[in-house]
């Protein structure tokens, strides 16, 4: 099995060929949007962070932006700075440059105002787009495939169809040398010991339980029981009896694939094939960003009621097992697996079909969220915002 992707100077293979417009602070988001609208082939990686953070968040935002720039779906980048923010634009610029890709930078305080920065930024982008547009897709094996997984707007069908299908895809792709990232610590809560047992190294098992403890204790610090935040009356009505059952349904996206390692938020995934657990939340915007920064070039997003979120630089494939949602939300759903619920297709056969679709998407087929532009992103911070 193979796909067609864009080779990068660091040996990675991308599914898309964008020039990333990367703001070091949310203050220049509008400027980035203007540039994106003006120059074809660009993607603005808007976020609302970059300043007045405690040091741990400044570091996390900076790491996330560097690693998004290193994502092979980005062929080149323009870093856009205001000039006084905590996140250092030079660090992002230098960090992305390590990958060997062309990178440029504009600083509004140095150039003087948005209009002049627009002009200079536009000129730099034109050259970047011209340069990277010469890159051609090449055949690549699955050892170049890094995939993210997530579920959202889930219902009872998720744990019985789309998540099991995704688990089967993950089993198959890791056997063929691929890597995938799973996280959603809120959804792991209740199933952390089952995941711990799948860890190759015991330290990673303890780390996964620590991710869950940290989430619980952070909730407790603001008077919330994050266990209860997971179980809704809708879940109980839909047939989910316990938190562990809910967690196992969500964790099924990785099946019983052994866990190769754990990752901090937005940390680059190592070379070794297999399953990785990243400390990212369930909330889609921060979650997809964590995957993309980790190096995922595509994301499998299972849904029941019909989530529409995608990520600006990472194609996000919606897989849905709910017969009704596949009709009412069809422009948001990429692959229908209600056949698994209807007993007309086995999980294995559905997985083969979805994986084939996934390879088509990596090789250039557009996802529904790319076609409709339902793309959002945010960077996870711990706070407090100062």
């Amino acid at each position: 099995m193979e796909f067609y992707g864009y080779p990068r100077p660091d040996g990675k293979i991308g599914a898309r060929n964008y020039v990333g417009i990367i703001p070091s602070t949310g203050c220049v988001n509008n400027l980035c949007t203007n540039l994106e609208n003006l120059v074809r082939g660009t993607k603005a990686i808007r976020h609302d962070q970059g300043c007045l953070h405690p040091p741990h968040d400044t570091e996390q935002v900076s790491r996330t932006l560097v690693n998004l720039g290193k994502n092979p779906n980005i062929g080149g980048a323009l870093v856009v700075a205001l000039g006084c923010e905590m996140v250092k634009a030079e660090e992002i610029y230098e960090g992305i440059k390590e990958s060997g890709k062309p990178v440029e930078m504009v600083v509004m305080h140095e150039i003087g105002g948005m209009i002049n920065t627009m002009a200079e930024g536009t000129r730099k982008l034109v050259d970047l787009v011209s340069e990277i547009s010469a890159c051609r897709r090449e055949r690549a094996g699955l050892k170049h495939l890094v995939m993210g997984t997530k579920c959202g707007s889930s219902d009872t069908t998720s744990g019985l169809s789309a998540n099991l299908v995704t688990g089967e895809i993950c089993r198959k792709m890791t056997e063929l040398g691929g890597r995938f990232i799973q996280g959603e610590i809120c959804d792991i809560m209740g199933g952390e010991y089952a995941l711990k047992n799948l860890c190759i190294n015991p330290e990673d098992g303890e780390k996964i339980v620590d991710f869950v403890r940290d989430l619980y204790l952070r909730g407790l610090a603001v008077g919330a029981d994050t266990r209860g935040c997971q179980m809704t009356s809708g879940n109980v009505k839909g047939g989910i009896t316990t938190l562990v059952e809910k967690a196992l349904g969500a964790n099924a996206k990785g099946g019983t694939v052994p866990i190769q390692g754990t990752l901090e938020y937005a940390q680059l995934v190592p070379e070794k094939p297999g399953r990785y657990i990243m400390n990212f939340p369930g909330h889609g915007f921060e979650n997809l960003t964590g995957s993309a920064a980790g190096g995922a070039i595509v994301h499998l997003f299972t849904t029941g009621r019909g989530a529409d979120t995608g990520h600006p630089i990472m194609p996000t494939i919606k897989i849905c097992g709910n017969l009704n949602t596949n009709k009412t939300m069809s422009e948001h759903i990429d692959v229908d697996v209600s056949s698994v619920i209807e007993e007309t297709e086995t999980i294995e056969a559905a997985a083969e079909r979805v994986f084939e679709y996934c390879l088509e998407v990596i090789s250039g087929r557009l996802t529904k969220s790319e076609i409709l532009g339902t793309e959002s992103m945010e960077i996870l911070i711990k706070g407090p915002v100062i």
């Binding site: 219902d155 009872t156 069908t157 019985l160 099991l164 809560m189 209740g190 199933g191 089952a194 303890e206 339980v209 869950v212 403890r213 619980y216 204790l217 407790l220 029981d225 266990r227 209860g228 997971q230 179980m231 009356s233 109980v236 839909g238 047939g239 989910i240 009896t241 316990t242 938190l243 562990v244 059952e245 196992l248 349904g249 964790n251 099924a252 619920i341 209807e342 007993e343």
Partner: protein
């Protein structure tokens, strides 16, 4: 019309209905190439669970091959399995295996419904 339920792993002692099932009907489970019929003793809605063996009080309810809770009373083969006969035993534990604060008494996750 055949009523189906899903079994996920070999170890499971419950299956999940993927049709609305009525008391007295049988449900069909396709698992690893084999088809098996189980009784359904009461009305069980889409997405809810049915026991496929007798489960004594205090014994684990197993789905996805893992314990999802404990039977809070004896459950017969064919019974509906949900919060009325299952106890959620999940606690967030510290590194010594002791519950972290804030989880005392009846404050278990499934008490919220």
């Amino acid at each position: 019309m055949t009523k189906y339920a899903k079994r996920i792993r070999e170890k499971d002692n419950v299956v999940t209905a993927v049709s609305d099932c009525k008391a007295g009907e049988t449900v069909t489970v396709r698992f690893e190439g084999k088809e098996t019929q189980y009784p359904c003793n009461e009305d069980v809605a889409f997405g809810h669970k049915i026991a496929i063996v007798d489960i004594e009080e205090g014994k684990p309810i197993i789905k996805y091959g893992e314990t999802i809770g404990i039977a809070s009373r004896t459950i017969k083969k064919g019974d509906w399995v949900h919060i009325h006969n299952t106890k959620d035993t999940y606690l967030c534990l510290d590194r010594d295996g002791k519950p972290l604060p804030g989880q005392e008494g009846e404050n278990a996750p499934c008490a919220i419904s």
